[in-house]
C-alpha cells in the first residue's frame, strides 16, 4: 500500500501569494494513499529538508510529492535528502506550482484549482513509480583533441599536464592554427609567434601527448567514456622518425615559383616539398602530391630524394588509418575567413593592393614574405596611406552574415597602430560601423590608435574602390559629418568576417553534436554549460563555437580540459537512470526508434536460440548514450519502449487522475 507524503511549498510569497497553499495541502490529504500533507514556507531550506526527512522516516513513506518550483531547481536537493533516509531518489516527484501556476496566473481560486490538479497527477504518478538505479559507464581515460590551433593546444596541454594521455589531431602539416600566422596581438602587442611557438614545442615534447599532424578524423563511434575513432594519417612521403628537418630537400625542389603559400595567404610561393613556416611543429616537410613533379611526371624528378642525407623521403608511402579508443573529445576545429570576392565593389582579387586583414598580418610579420617591411603586393613600394574597412561580411545579413566577428575592431586598430609604428608619417583611415572594444584594455587600445597614432576613424561604409594612376580611390560616406569622402590610398585592408572552418558541419555530423545555421557548434547550454556540446563526452573550444579572441579561445580550451579532467577523476561515469528500455518480447524490429534517436543510442540486437539461429532482431538501448528524451517511445507503434521514470503506466495514471 502506497504511503505518500505531500509537501506544499510557499516559496515565500512566490507561490503562496497566488495559490492557497493551505487548501492545496488539505485537498492533498484527502487523496487515497496520502498519509500526510503539510505546507511549509521554504521546502528547499535546511529546516524544510529536515521536515521532509523526518516524515519519510517517521511515517515510513513509500513516495513523496512536493508541490513547489520547477524540478530544474531543486529536484536534486530533495532527491539527496530522500537518499539520506534510505528512499530511492526516483520516488521524489515534483508538481511545479510556481513556474506553471503562481507565476503565470492571477486568479487565486483558479490557480489553486490548477495546483491541486497538478498535485493529484503527481500523487497518482508516484504510486506507480519503481526504483531506478543510475547507470554506470566505464571510462577510457584518454582524450582526443581535434584541431591544433591555440584552443586545441591549450586543451591538450592542460589535459596532458593533468596526467591524462591526449591525442591531438591536426589537418595541416604543422600545429599552430591561425594564431601562428598573426604578427603582434592586441592589446598588449606581444609577438604572436614568440608566445605561440613555446606552446607548440611543449605539445611536441610532452610525454602525454601523441601528435598526429597532416591527419584527419575519419570516423567516430561509441559514446562518452568509450569512443572509437579512426584517424587518417595522410601520406607525408617522409619517414618522420628519420627526418632531421635540415631543409636540404625543400631548398633543392624545382617547384618554387608556382605554388602559393597557404601560410602567407598567397603573398609568397612555396615549394612542392615544404614546411609551411620555419618554426613548424613538427619540423618535418610534406610533399604536396598535387604539384610535385615526381608524382605528376611519372617519377622523373627525385631531386629531394637525392639531396636528402638520411634518405627519409619515400614516394611510396600511403595514407594510414589509425584506430584509437578515447573517453572524451574536444572539438576545436577553428575558423575560416569569408570570401572577400563577395564584395565586388571593393575590388578584392581585381586590385592587387586590396588585401585581407590576415594578409596584412603576414606583411607585418618578421617571418612574412616581406620580412616585416610593409610593402604593396603590386609594386613592392611602401604605402603611405592605408584605408581599413571594417565589417566586410560581418553584420551584413544581405550579403554576409548577421553576426559580429568580434575580433575585427581590435585587429584593425592594431593594424593601424603597427602601420604607424613601421611607416613613420603614414596615415590610416578606418571605415567602421561601431567600435566594439569591450575586454580588458581594449577601449584604451583603440583610443590610443586614434589619439596617439592619428588614425582617422570614419563612421560609414565604403561604396566603391577604383584604381587611378597607381592609387586606389576609396569613395565612402562619413555619416557623422554627413559628408561623402574620397581618399586616395596606396593600399586597402579588408577586415573580413569570420565563418566556421569549412566542413565543420560534416565534422559535427560525424561527432553527433549540434551546430547552428552558420555551422558553429552549439553549446549544451549557452550560459551554464559553455564548454559542453549537446553530446555527453564531447567538449567544445575556440572559434569553432563562434567568433572570439585569443584570450577567450585559451579560456575555452582550458575549460574543456578541466571538464575532461573532472570526468576522468572518477572511476566510472554515472548517467541518470531515466533512460529508455525495450520490451524485447513485443518489439518487432521496425527500428523507427533507431531512426528518430538523436543520440545514436539504439542498435540492433539479435535474439538467438540455443543453437545460435537468429530468431528475431530487436532494438537495444545503449545506456551510456541514451539521454532519456523519449523520442523512441513516441515512435514505437507497438508501445514496446518505455522510459524509466516516465512509464506509460505513470503517464496514464496522471491523465486518469484528471478524469471526472
Amino acid at each position: 500500500m502506497a504511503r505518500i507524503g505531500v509537501f506544499v511549498c510557499w516559496c515565500g510569497s512566490n507561490i503562496a501569494g497566488t495559490v492557497d497553499v493551505k487548501k492545496v495541502a488539505e485537498e492533498a490529504a484527502k487523496i487515497p494513499g496520502v498519509v500526510e500533507a503539510v505546507d511549509y514556507k521554504y521546502m528547499c531550506s535546511d529546516p524544510g529538508q529536515n521536515t521532509l526527512r523526518k516524515m519519510i522516516k517517521e511515517k515510513n513513506l513509500t513516495g513523496v510529492v512536493l508541490a513547489a518550483c520547477s524540478p530544474h531547481m531543486h529536484e536534486n536537493t530533495f532527491r539527496k535528502a530522500a537518499v539520506k533516509e534510505g528512499l530511492n531518489p526516483y520516488f521524489i516527484e515534483i508538481a511545479n506550482i510556481r513556474e506553471q501556476v503562481s507565476w503565470v496566473h492571477e486568479d487565486k481560486e483558479k490557480a489553486t484549482g490548477k495546483a491541486i490538479d497538478l498535485l493529484k497527477m503527481m500523487v497518482e504518478k508516484v504510486k506507480k513509480n519503481k526504483p531506478i538505479e543510475d547507470v554506470r559507464v566505464p571510462l577510457t581515460k584518454k582524450a582526443l583533441v581535434i584541431g591544433g590551433g591555440i584552443s586545441g593546444i591549450q586543451a591538450a596541454l592542460d589535459i596532458a599536464n593533468g596526467g591524462v594521455e591526449v591525442i591531438l589531431v591536426e589537418k595541416e602539416p604543422s600545429i599552430g592554427g591561425k594564431m601562428i600566422q598573426l604578427d603582434e596581438t592586441f592589446p598588449t602587442l606581444d609577438c604572436s609567434s614568440c608566445i605561440m611557438t613555446p606552446k607548440m614545442v611543449e605539445v611536441y615534447q610532452h610525454p602525454n601527448i601523441k601528435l598526429y599532424t597532416y591527419s584527419e578524423l575519419e570516423e567516430v563511434s561509441g559514446y562518452i567514456g568509450n569512443f572509437n575513432v579512426k584517424i587518417k594519417k595522410k601520406a607525408r612521403s617522409i619517414v618522420e622518425k628519420d627526418c632531421t628537418g635540415c631543409g636540404d630537400c625543400w631548398n633543392i625542389c624545382p617547384m618554387h615559383k608556382n605554388v602559393k603559400s597557404e601560410f602567407n595567404v598567397n603573398l609568397s610561393e612555396r615549394t612542392a616539398i615544404y614546411v609551411p613556416f620555419p618554426q613548424a611543429v613538427p619540423l618535418i616537410p610534406v610533399i604536396d602530391r598535387s604539384v610535385c613533379l615526381h608524382f605528376k611526371k611519372g617519377g622523373k624528378c627525385q631531386k629531394c630524394y637525392d639531396a636528402c642525407g638520411p634518405k627519409c623521403i619515400n614516394f611510396d608511402l600511403q595514407d594510414e588509418i589509425i584506430e584509437e579508443k578515447v573517453g572524451a573529445i574536444v572539438a576545436a576545429t577553428g575558423y575560416d575567413l569569408m570570401e572577400n570576392s563577395l564584395y565586388g565593389e571593393y575590388g578584392y582579387g581585381k586590385f592587387k593592393d586590396v588585401i585581407s586583414g590576415l594578409q596584412f598580418e603576414r606583411l607585418l610579420s618578421a617571418s612574412g614574405p616581406t620580412e616585416g617591411v610593409v610593402k604593396r603586393p603590386s609594386d613592392g613600394k611602401t604605402p603611405e596611406t592605408i584605408v581599413f574597412i571594417q565589417c566586410v561580411g560581418s553584420r551584413d545579413p544581405e550579403k554576409g552574415v548577421p553576426y559580429c566577428s568580434k575580433v575585427c575592431c581590435m585587429y584593425t586598430a592594431k593594424h593601424a597602430k603597427l602601420f604607424a609604428h613601421k611607416v613613420h608619417g603614414s596615415q590610416s583611415y578606418v571605415f567602421y560601423i561601431d567600435i566594439r572594444a569591450t575586454s580588458k584594455g581594449y577601449e584604451e587600445f583603440v583610443r590610443g590608435t586614434m589619439e596617439n597614432e592619428g588614425a582617422i576613424y570614419l563612421r560609414g561604409r565604403v561604396s566603391k574602390i577604383y584604381e587611378d594612376n597607381g592609387k586606389l580611390i576609396v569613395k565612402g560616406a562619413d555619416t557623422l559629418s554627413g559628408n561623402q569622402v574620397e581618399i586616395a590610398a596606396d593600399m586597402v585592408v579588408l577586415a573580413t568576417g569570420v565563418i566556421p572552418k569549412k566542413g565543420s558541419d560534416k565534422m559535427a555530423q560525424m561527432l553527433g553534436i549540434s551546430y547552428d545555421k552558420y555551422g558553429f557548434y552549439t553549446e549544451s547550454h549557452p550560459k551554464l554549460r559553455p564548454a559542453e556540446s549537446s553530446t555527453a563526452g564531447i567538449y567544445l573550444a575556440g572559434m569553432a563555437q563562434g567568433p572570439r579572441d585569443i584570450p577567450e579561445s585559451v579560456v575555452s580550451g582550458s575549460a574543456a580540459a578541466s571538464k575532461i579532467l573532472g570526468l576522468f577523476s572518477k572511476s566510472e561515469y554515472e548517467v541518470e537512470g531515466t533512460i529508455a528500455s525495450v520490451n524485447k518480447t513485443t518489439c518487432v524490429g521496425c527500428f523507427y526508434c533507431k531512426r528518430v534517436c538523436a543520440y545514436s543510442a539504439i542498435s540492433k540486437e539479435e535474439i538467438k536460440d540455443r543453437n545460435g539461429n537468429v530468431l528475431k532482431v530487436v532494438a537495444n538501448v545503449n545506456s551510456g548514450l541514451c539521454a532519456g528524451c523519449g523520442a523512441c517511445v513516441n515512435a514505437c507503434f507497438s508501445k514496446s519502449i518505455d522510459l524509466k521514470g516516465y512509464l506509460d503506466e505513470q503517464i496514464f495514471a496522471e491523465i486518469k487522475s484528471l478524469a471526472v
Binding site: 555530423q509 518480447t585 524490429g589 531512426r595 515512435a635 507503434f637 507497438s638 496514464f652
Partner: protein, 299 residues
C-alpha cells in the same frame, strides 16, 4: 490472359526448380469463377494452379508478415504494382530481407470491384474498378525480379468518375459535421480487427490495442474506444499506407477506411513531399531525424 499465365507459371517453375525460392505465393481460381484466391505452392508440378486476371484483388503481401510463411525462408510472391509497394515498405522497415524475396511483378490494368464481380461483372472499366486503380501510378511494379507483362489494353479514364470524391466533400465540411460523419461511421465498428489482419503493414506481434498496462485504447464497442482504435490505426499508417485498400475491403461493416488513409497520404505528400512504398532505401517520413533540419527545437 493465357499468355500471362504461361509466363507466370514458367517463372514460378524455374524459381522452384532452381531452389531460388521454397514457396511461391500467388493467385489461383476460386470456386466462383469471378473470385480469385491465394495459393501457396512449394512443388514445381503445382505451378499450373497459378493464374492472374482482373479479379486478383487481394494484396498477397499480407502473408509475408505471418510466421508460418516466414519459416519458408526464401519466398517468391506474385504482386500487382500496388501490392509491391507493400513489399517495398516491409523491406524498408526491416520486416523482410531483399535477399529473401523474389518479386514476381505483374503488370496490372486494374482490378474489378468485388461486389460488382459477384454480380457477374467481368469488364475492366473506369466504372468497375476500385478507386485506387483510377489513381494508380504503378501499373507496372516499381521493383521486381521477374516481370509478367499484361496483354490487356489500359482502360480509358474520361474524368466522369472522381476517385475518392468524398475526401473533398469532407474537407469542405465544418469540423462539427465532419466529426459527425466519422462518429456515425465508427459507430458501426465491431472491433473485429479485420482491417488490421488484412493490412500488409500491420505487422506488430502485439498491437497497441492489445497493450493493457496501461490500456490506452478501450476495447469495448463504444464510441470512445471505436474512434480511438480507428484514429490510432490511421496515424500508425500515415506516411506508411500504400493504398492497397485491403482494410476497407475486409471491413464487414463497410467503414470507408480508405478515405482516411488516402487523405493522410495526400497530406503527407503535400507537407513533406513523401510517398510511401516507392523506395526501399528511403527514410520513412515519420522516422526521420535530420541534423540539417532547420527547426530550432531540434538544435
Amino acid at each position: 490472359m493465357e499468355k500471362m499465365n504461361d509466363k507466370l507459371q514458367n517463372i514460378a517453375k524455374k524459381l522452384l526448380e532452381n531452389k531460388e525460392v521454397n514457396l511461391i505465393i500467388g493467385f489461383t481460381k476460386g470456386s466462383n469463377p469471378l473470385r480469385m484466391r491465394s495459393v501457396f505452392i512449394t512443388e514445381p508440378n503445382d505451378v499450373s494452379k497459378l493464374s492472374f486476371n482482373a479479379h486478383c484483388v487481394q494484396d498477397l503481401a499480407v502473408f509475408l508478415k505471418k510466421p508460418e510463411v516466414k519459416k519458408f525462408g526464401k519466398i517468391g510472391i506474385v504482386v500487382k504494382g500496388c501490392d509491391e509497394k507493400a513489399v517495398n515498405t516491409l523491406i524498408q522497415e526491416y520486416q523482410l530481407s531483399r535477399d529473401n524475396i523474389k518479386i514476381i511483378g505483374v503488370e496490372c490494368r486494374g482490378v474489378v470491384k468485388q461486389n460488382l464481380a459477384d454480380k457477374g461483372e467481368d469488364a475492366v472499366k473506369q466504372s468497375t474498378v476500385y478507386d485506387k486503380c483510377l489513381v494508380c501510378e504503378v501499373h507496372t511494379p516499381l521493383l521486381y525480379d521477374e516481370l509478367v507483362e499484361s496483354d490487356e489494353p489500359a482502360f480509358e479514364i474520361n474524368g466522369d468518375i472522381k476517385p475518392y470524391a468524398k475526401i473533398e466533400e469532407l474537407d469542405a465540411m465544418s469540423v462539427e459535421d465532419r466529426n459527425m460523419f466519422w462518429q456515425k461511421e465508427f459507430e458501426k465498428c465491431i472491433k473485429c480487427y479485420a482491417c488490421r489482419q488484412a493490412c500488409p503493414l500491420c505487422y506488430c506481434t502485439r498491437c497497441i490495442v492489445e497493450k493493457n498496462t496501461p490500456q490506452w485504447i478501450e476495447t469495448n464497442i463504444e464510441e470512445t474506444g471505436n474512434a480511438q482504435w480507428n484514429m490510432i490505426r490511421a496515424y500508425h499508417l500515415s506516411g506508411r499506407c500504400i493504398g492497397c485498400g485491403e482494410c476497407e475491403r475486409a471491413c464487414p461493416v463497410n467503414i470507408p477506411l480508405m478515405l482516411v488513409n488516402e487523405k493522410m497520404a495526400r497530406d503527407v505528400f503535400e507537407k513533406f513531399g513523401y510517398k510511401s512504398g516507392i523506395d526501399i532505401n528511403a527514410k520513412p517520413v515519420f522516422g526521420t531525424f535530420d541534423a540539417n533540419d532547420f527547426n530550432e527545437f531540434i538544435k
